[in-house]
Symmetry: C2
Subunit: 410 residues, 2 copies
């Protein structure tokens, strides 16, 4: 290989990027744990038979399946739901409801595009083992708190339910064998006009009367009692901007009850969560017969948007707060002592390692790494028992007593 490179769709996270990712992940974990969700991690590799036969042929074409050095058929994990189903089967004594979050990479050999990767991070929260609407509501509250904690203020959590969608079809006298196809067209109503969707429905042999009834029912649609209870509970838990939306459609093979999706309007991110109740799925994926509800949160997309739009301008690029320079080889020990003392005060401190490098270059290093403060300790400073502290953003230099550095740079 002449030029070193990563595989397409696979990413290095250099330190600057990790700063944002770590902050996003820490923020989300704190919210999840505040609701009693605990972390689960599962292996990168699974037996191939754990992965296959679950999501159909199209999905399997995207799976990384291979033989391991021992000749076993194995595969990289494709999502976090199949491993969850396996875990529920493998550890039947796990207390239920089992409330877990999981933030790990999954692998799909898809065509790559912006914010779509072949190794991507899934971030899932799920409650397994109860049909209580309290758990559905809690997922909505967690989503709302997560977005608030990430400082996305302008969002809508759209909710709907499988039952309401099928009721629409029945009330409009549309034959049940056409329901999936019709719902796919309805799903486009948030991007296309009513006229465009009508034409599409006509092309699917839906009669004008059926179409008229369908739109009428959509307009009049109300949450059913269970969905209403979920929405009410979520609001009481503090969830913001939860809205019933009868044109929200999600995978209908997957969900059995309520379905959720979050649109972030500002910044214009679009859909960043998707979830709902899936009381049959864990069994269908080879696990035990346990009801479940949960959501996935688009971690990669969130990190990309925060980075691209510079949404967290105040987040330091580097975890390092101060670079202690070395004025000359004979003053190395003084800089070393200062570094040690700053660390004792819980200030992340990098000591420039080479006393033979000119101060100028040491300052450029701090600048290149995004370290906000530089400490200079020359003969003059030592004589007066002070430190020259340079703010790299403003260029301002101040001379401060050693024991007052902390208050200057915090």
């Amino acid at each position: 290989m002449t030029t070193p490179q990563t595989l397409k769709g696979f990413r290095d996270f250099l330190p600057e990027t990790m700063t944002i990712r770590n902050k996003v992940i820490t923020t989300l974990k704190a919210v999840f744990e505040s609701y009693g969700f605990s972390e689960l991690q599962t292996p990168t590799l699974e037996y191939a038979e754990v992965l296959t036969g679950k999501y159909g042929e199209e999905a399997e074409k995207l799976m990384y399946l291979f033989k391991d050095p021992g000749g076993r058929n194995v595969g990289l994990k494709y999502d976090l739901t199949v491993p969850l189903a396996r875990v529920m089967g493998q550890y039947p004594d796990l207390p239920k409801p089992f409330k877990r979050y999981q933030i790990q990479p999954a692998f799909r050999a898809e065509n790559t595009q912006k914010s779509r990767y072949r190794e991507f991070y899934q971030c899932d929260i799920d409650t397994v083992g109860t049909t209580s609407p309290v758990s559905d509501a809690e997922i909505l509250a967690v989503i709302s708190d997560s977005l608030k904690a990430l400082k996305f203020s302008d969002f809508t959590i759209r909710v709907n339910s499988r039952q309401i969608l099928f009721d629409l079809i029945i009330k409009s006298n549309i034959p049940s064998n056409k329901s999936l196809s019709v719902l796919q067209s309805i799903d486009k109503l948030d991007k296309k006009t009513r006229e465009e969707v009508s034409l599409e429905l006509e092309s699917k042999q839906i009669t004008p009367l059926q179409i008229k009834d369908l739109f009428y029912c959509l307009e009049k649609a109300q949450p059913d009692p269970q969905l209403k209870e979920i929405i009410d509970l979520a609001k009481k838990m503090g969830a913001k901007n939860v809205k019933f939306d009868p044109i929200l459609i999600r995978g209908l093979d997957y969900y059995t009850g309520a379905i959720f999706e979050t649109m972030v309007e500002k910044p214009k991110i679009g859909s960043i969560t998707g979830g709902g109740r899936y009381d049959q799925l864990i069994k269908n994926l080879g696990g035990p017969d346990l009801p479940a509800v949960g959501t996935t949160i688009g971690l990669d997309r969130i990190c990309d948007v925060i980075s691209d739009l510079n949404l967290w301008p105040d987040l330091p690029v580097s975890p390092t707060r101060v670079l202690v320079t070395v004025f000359s080889p004979d003053l190395l020990n003084n800089s070393l002592s200062l570094s040690k003392s700053l660390r004792t005060q819980n200030i992340n401190t990098e000591l420039y390692p080479d006393p033979n490098i000119k101060l100028d270059k040491q300052l450029r290093y701090a600048s290149a790494k995004g370290i906000p403060f530089v400490a200079i300790l020359g003969p003059e400073e030592l004589e007066k028992n002070i430190v020259t502290l340079k703010n790299m953003a403003t260029g301002e230099q101040v001379k401060v007593p050693q024991n007052e550095i902390q208050s200057y740079i915090s």
Copy 2:
């Protein structure tokens, strides 16, 4: 698959295990960052040619190499050093010294045994781009601070250097073509007696005089000026228990200068770090010609020992601090409000989701999950505006005003 299972050598980290792992990782990251190291993450998969031809045939037998769905030759990462070499080549503009830590899984199809897994976590810290002994010393200081932060107090950081080892061979008049074999025997001196090692050396056609000289030189061995400087600097940085040890041998194809290893005596963990200076390796691994020094820390081993020996008995099993029970369906809203209020006070709070389940069973759930406190809110409590708080460890029950819960359970 009749019984759901993980692949041998691959692990699920259930919530209890994750609590310890998260604490260990958070602790280590804080120490690394306090010295100005930043996080790097690299992909799970690399081009096969990035991985192969680096560590010899034996290593390659252990690699997970395969063709991806697009027909590319790829492999799971085998360590974190090869990806570091690739990163240094791929991003030549990274400011140097480049100080990174990386905590990610690596994959080796080895025979499994206690604390040896096929998917294992490596935890590496390295400084790339300087030959300064300050950087060697800093690695020792980071190791020392890390072990202190993990509350392992009784440890020895053994240091030696490649040059000192080869000087021993020369001074004992042992032919240089036997040096590696002789050093392998010396390496056993921390487990075998001097007599046993002598016999082994004799079997390698080392003469009695050469053996006598070798042991004499070992006894008299002193750190050379550079190693002395590293040790002195490390001590000034605050590193504890750094000891020169001429019988410390590590991979001699790998290291070019100082070598380090840490033995934890109590608890009796054995070796949990290994590292040193490797000024040729990044180039040899296909990267640019950059000197480097670093260490790996045995994260899996540390987590296993803390768990097996119950070294952190005070660490809560669950991140959840309190389970708010639901007394009866009509009081669900009251429990919900209490949960919300506790979360506002930064108390991780789980609300039991099903109001139809008996209180007794709700308490058993808290106990099974290791949640330390349970809040009970029945008609009596509501009337008096109090909460019954049960400490699950002691069984003690107290009745406290709602606004005083925080001080009781913190």
